[in-house]
């Protein structure tokens, strides 16, 4: 029966191809001159260059963290190219003007961009490597005062907003990779929802890493003003390469009074082959500041790709009555490693947080949940509930749970529960006795296991996530 399970979880990566679009790539290596070059290429104001250089200085003084439960060869930061831009520089008025090769890439990825955008009512800010090439629905959003554009565009058009918020949630020296990102980030998304506006549609960005050895350093900043709300979707796929690629994004969210930000991710970057060769290193810093009273920040993630995933989308619950949520599914197979979880920092009174984490490990992979719930002395009446479940498929993989609970206030209530289970042969037999084959049974059990998280995803993302899990865990039986 275990052979059946082994087959079920082995499924080749579907998105392995390179789009042949001419790229402009910076020489490998990192120094002050490269940073000045990036800043100059992007025609940035002086303060942003200062921001980058300060981050670079901090980065030089820092060392790579090693506490996470992942293993990988040392990264040579001087062998990475820190800038890569498609050469076609002109801005597009419509999708027709976009390089057809690029559009075909999206087709192959199963993202019929215009169709998807039109049918699903999703505005897609397409990031191809590091430069934003097309933005749809911008005008409709602009009508209600929403800004949704690339961060480089925002730097030019809305410098005051960027200056006010950039680096306020994730300071330049927050951690090694955040410092690196702050020094060299090339592009990403910016989203601003003004006071009282409920964003009329889900905002969506598809990221792709395309050029071999080009590190991706996305920077995303989302601001929801008083009473505003937005649901943001991030989807990631990357083509197959045999050298590992580093991805070190920073995402900052700020929710003011009564604001609501929901951030959903489906991550399916190349995970390496069945022998653990290749694959993306996904070292991401994501953090939301629930700054205002009654504000809410909700992270939902489905992590199926990358050779190494190392991320903790976090919430700083500063506003009284603010709410933080983290819903996560992490699936690892072959030699993948995932160390993911969240931090919930309770500062305001009556702040509440919920953590639901589902880890599925197959093959020789390792999946770790690492989470911190901290209740500071000011957080009277804080509440947290965490549930972290793991499922192992096969006997070569590992599942780990590292919850840190730090409570400094006696009116707080923190609850953590975790369990480990497997797909039992008795369960499969029960399905079989009712006429349901192993493949379908596994898929059903896994989807049931992840149900609490999938329910949090917007409809079309939930469908995609369910499919992804099936891709990942299905195959021929016998």
């Amino acid at each position: 029966m275990s052979a059946v399970l082994q087959n079920l979880v082995n499924q080749p990566y579907k998105h392995g191809f390179v789009t042949e679009i001419e790229s402009e790539v910076a020489p490998k290596g990192l120094n002050e001159a490269v940073i000045r070059m990036i800043s100059a290429k992007k025609k940035e104001p002086e303060w942003l260059l200062t921001f980058r250089l300060e981050a670079y200085k901090k980065w030089l003084s820092m060392t790579e963290p090693h506490w996470q439960n992942v293993k990988y060869p040392k990264i040579d930061f001087q062998s990475i190219s820190y800038y890569s831009a498609p050469k076609s520089k002109k801005k597009f008025a419509s999708m027709d003007e976009v390089d057809p090769e690029l559009l075909r890439t999206f087709e192959k990825l199963g993202i019929p961009l215009h169709e998807r955008a039109a049918l699903a009512g999703v505005a897609v800010d397409v990031i191809f490597d590091s430069v934003s090439v097309a933005t749809t629905y911008k005008e409709r959003l602009a009508e209600v005062g929403i800004i949704f554009c690339s961060i480089s565009e925002a730097v030019q058009k809305y410098p005051d907003l960027i200056k006010k918020y950039l680096g306020t949630v994730v300071p330049v020296g927050d951690n090694y990779y955040a410092a690196l990102n702050s020094a060299v980030f090339t592009d990403g998304s910016f989203c601003f929802i003004p006071k009282g506006v409920k964003c009329p549609m889900d905002l969506s960005t598809y990221f792709r890493i395309n050029t071999e050895s080009s590190g991706q350093f996305e920077r995303t900043l989302i601001i929801a003003e008083d009473g505003a709300s937005v649901s943001y979707l991030e989807g990631c796929t990357a083509p197959r390469f045999d050298t590992n690629q580093l991805h070190a994004a920073v995402v900052e969210l700020v929710a003011l009074d009564n604001a609501d930000i929901k951030y959903s991710t489906v991550q399916n970057w190349y995970a390496g082959d069945e022998n653990g060769i290749g694959g993306i290193y996904n070292f991401v810093t994501k953090r939301g500041l629930a700054k205002g009273i009654n504000s809410r920040i909700s992270w939902t993630q489905v992590e199926t790709g990358s050779a190494i995933t190392w991320k903790y989308p976090s919430c700083i619950l500063r506003g009284d009555n603010s709410v933080g949520e983290f819903y996560s599914v992490a699936v690892t197979n072959n030699y993948q490693q995932a160390d993911t979880g969240t931090k919930m920092i309770h500062i305001g009174k009556n702040t509440r947080s919920t953590i639901v984490s589902k880890g599925i490990a197959a093959g020789h992979s390792n999946s770790s949940y690492r989470g911190l719930v901290r209740v500071t002395p000011t957080a009277d009446g804080a509440r947290n509930y965490s549930q972290c479940d793991s499922m192992l498929i096969g006997d070569q993989c590992g599942a780990h749970t590292f919850p840190y609970i730090q409570v400094r206030n006696n009116s707080a209530k923190v609850e953590h529960e975790a369990s480990t289970s497997k797909i039992g042969e008795d369960q499969l037999f029960y399905f079989a006795q009712r006429g349901i084959g192993a493949e379908e049974a596994v898929s059903m059990i896994i989807n049931g296991f992840c149900k609490d998280v999938f329910q949090q995803l917007p409809m079309e993302f939930a469908v995609e996530a369910t499919k992804l899990l099936s891709f990942k865990l299905e195959g021929s039986v016998g």
């Binding site: 029960y430 079989a432 006795q433 009712r434 059990i445 049931g448």
Partner: protein, 264 residues
Amino acid sequence: MIDKDSKTLLEIRDLHATVNNIEVLKGINLTIKSGEIHAIMGVNGSGKSTLTKVLAGHSAYIVTAGSVMFEGKDLFELEPEERARAGIFLAFQYPIEIPGVANNQFLRLAYNTVQAQRGKEELDPLEFDDFVRDKMKLLEMNPEFLDRSVNEGFSGGEKKRNEILQMALLEPRISILDETDSGLDIDALRIVANGVNQIANKENAIILVTHYQRLLDYIVPDYVHVMESGRIIKTGGKELALALETRGYEWVSAENRTAEGVVS
């Protein structure tokens, strides 16, 4: 009911099987025809449950000798799910809990799989909902069970009813009920038995595996078989069950020893 026009559904010949290298079935012979209800009785460890698992195809049970023909086909050629689709249904003694998988989702998938096999129409979620609710009335089941995970947190009686519900949905040719009466109070027993009786017809057959006579007050068997040490040592009509109830298993066993003694 015993009917001379009935067809043979299941033919077990000299069946031997092992679990963990221990021989548990040591030559079972049993023929089951359509329309019949058979009761298999015997003390713990006599091999009753093993027989049900072997028929359903559980991988832990290894058939070492003998044959089982199901409607003229070699049963052992079929995978467990193929047996289910062909019409063999096992109501488990201990139904498995499957957290996270909603009961209605599971029931519909199982139902549609079997329907597709029979070339019949599959039901969409709405049609199925009506259909299953109807069947649940038969078993006096609360519809809220549809939204809960399969068997998770169900009481013993609820699990058994859920098994019979599946039996009602899948309309098997042969239903094997493994100690369905255990853990049921008298009301639940009556409800489950009523359900089974309504499902029983001229085309199908039922095997009841039980320790006790009381289930047989409600579902009246045509044949009663007594198992001991992996063999059927006595076969009789429904009166045999009553005799067992009053005299215990020991007398059959003793009688069997005497008989064997005479033979050898």
